[in-house]
Symmetry: C2
Subunit: 191 residues, 2 copies
C-alpha cells in the first residue's frame, strides 16, 4: 500500500435537524432553503441558521440539509468553552449521552438533552477508491500535514461509501492549529 | 538522547504592552495591577484588559506583565478570522511586518501597524535541564500527544534560559485540536 494525498475539508460549527425539530424551530410548513452544495453528494448548506445557547453563551449555527432522523449539532471545543458545555469527541451519529443545549429558531425552541458533539476527524472515501488505495470502512489511519505549523493527526476514522468524495474532514480548531485551509492537501500515511 | 515528558501550557489570546502604549491606553500614571503569577518567572497576569479591534470584529484581550520594549499581541487563528486580520505565525519577538490592529483602553487608543502575531509553538527549557535532556536553544523538535484526538506537532521551537520552567506552550486552537488541557503531559521525541 502506498501513501496517498487527500484534500482537506474544514467544517465550521453546523447542525443537522430532524424533521420534527425543523418544524418546531421554523414553523409547521417549514422546509430548508437550498443555498449551495457541500462536497458530499446530496448534502447542502441551507439559508437557515439557529441560535445555539448554553449556560455561558450563545452563537449562531448554520443548518445543513437534508433533514436527518436525529438532530446532531457539531461544534468545536473553542465553541464549547464559550457556550459552557462539554461535548464529547464522537464519530457522527454516535449521540448517546452526548451534550445538550438549547436551539432557538424564529418559530420556537428545542431543548436538546443530547445531540451536541465534537466530530472526530475522519476521511470520506468512495468505495472504488478504497479498494485501490488499500483502506476499508472504519480503518483508523494517520494523516500528515506539511505546513508552517505542521504535524500528524493520528487515529483518523475512514468512512467508505459509494457516494463519498475523497476528503479529510477536520474542524476549525484542527485546521487553525495546523494553519490548514479548505482544499489544502494532506497525506494519508499507510507505511 | 532519550525522549522526555513536558507539561503543556495553554495560552489564550493576550498581549504585552510597551510602557508608552500602557500609558496611552490606561493613563499617564498607569501601572499594571498584579493578579496572579504565570509559570515563567517574573511574568504575571494583570487585572487589565483592552479591546482589540479589526476590520470585522473586536474582542477583549488580557494584558500580561511586566511591560516589554515593544507591544506584542498574541491571538489564535480562530480569533484572527473573527477580527478580519491575517497575522503571521511567528516566534515571540519577531514582529517585523506582522499584522496590525487597534487597541482600545479606558484612557485612549493605540493603532498598531504591526505587532499582532500567532505565536509559533515552543518549549521553554531551563539551561541545566537542556544539558541533561540533550536539547539546545533554537533546536526544532517533535512533540507527541496521546489523547482521544492525538497526534504529533512537528517543528516545535526550543528556547533555553536559566529562568525558564519546562513547559510546552501552545495556543487554544492547538490545545482544542488535540483535546489537551493545561498541565497535561506531552512527550518530546528525540529518537
Amino acid at each position: 500500500m502506498s501513501n496517498f494525498a487527500v484534500p482537506v475539508g474544514v467544517s465550521n460549527r453546523h447542525l443537522h435537524l430532524s424533521e420534527t425539530d425543523l418544524r418546531t424551530l421554523f414553523g409547521s410548513a417549514a422546509a430548508l432553503t437550498y443555498k449551495k452544495p457541500l462536497s458530499q453528494e446530496g448534502q447542502f448548506v441551507s439559508e437557515e441558521t439557529v441560535t445555539l445557547a448554553g449556560p455561558k453563551g450563545s452563537m449562531t449555527v448554520r443548518v445543513l440539509g437534508p433533514a436527518r432522523p436525529q438532530t446532531q449539532v457539531e461544534v468545536t471545543l473553542t465553541d464549547a468553552y464559550k457556550l459552557g458545555i462539554a461535548p464529547p469527541v464522537r464519530d457522527s451519529g454516535d449521540l448517546d449521552g452526548s451534550a445538550g443545549g438549547e436551539l432557538i429558531g424564529p418559530a420556537g425552541r428545542v431543548v436538546l438533552t443530547e445531540g451536541v458533539i465534537v466530530v472526530h476527524r475522519h476521511i470520506h472515501v468512495r468505495t472504488e477508491d478504497a479498494l485501490r488505495k488499500g483502506v476499508k470502512d472504519r480503518d483508523r489511519v494517520t494523516v500528515r500535514v506539511d505546513t508552517e505549523r505542521g504535524g500528524v493527526f493520528t487515529d483518523v476514522l475512514v468512512r467508505v461509501d459509494p457516494s463519498f468524495n475523497l476528503e479529510f474532514h477536520i474542524d476549525t480548531d484542527e485546521s487553525n492549529a495546523f494553519a490548514l485551509k479548505n482544499g489544502d492537501v494532506a497525506e494519508v500515511i499507510l507505511n
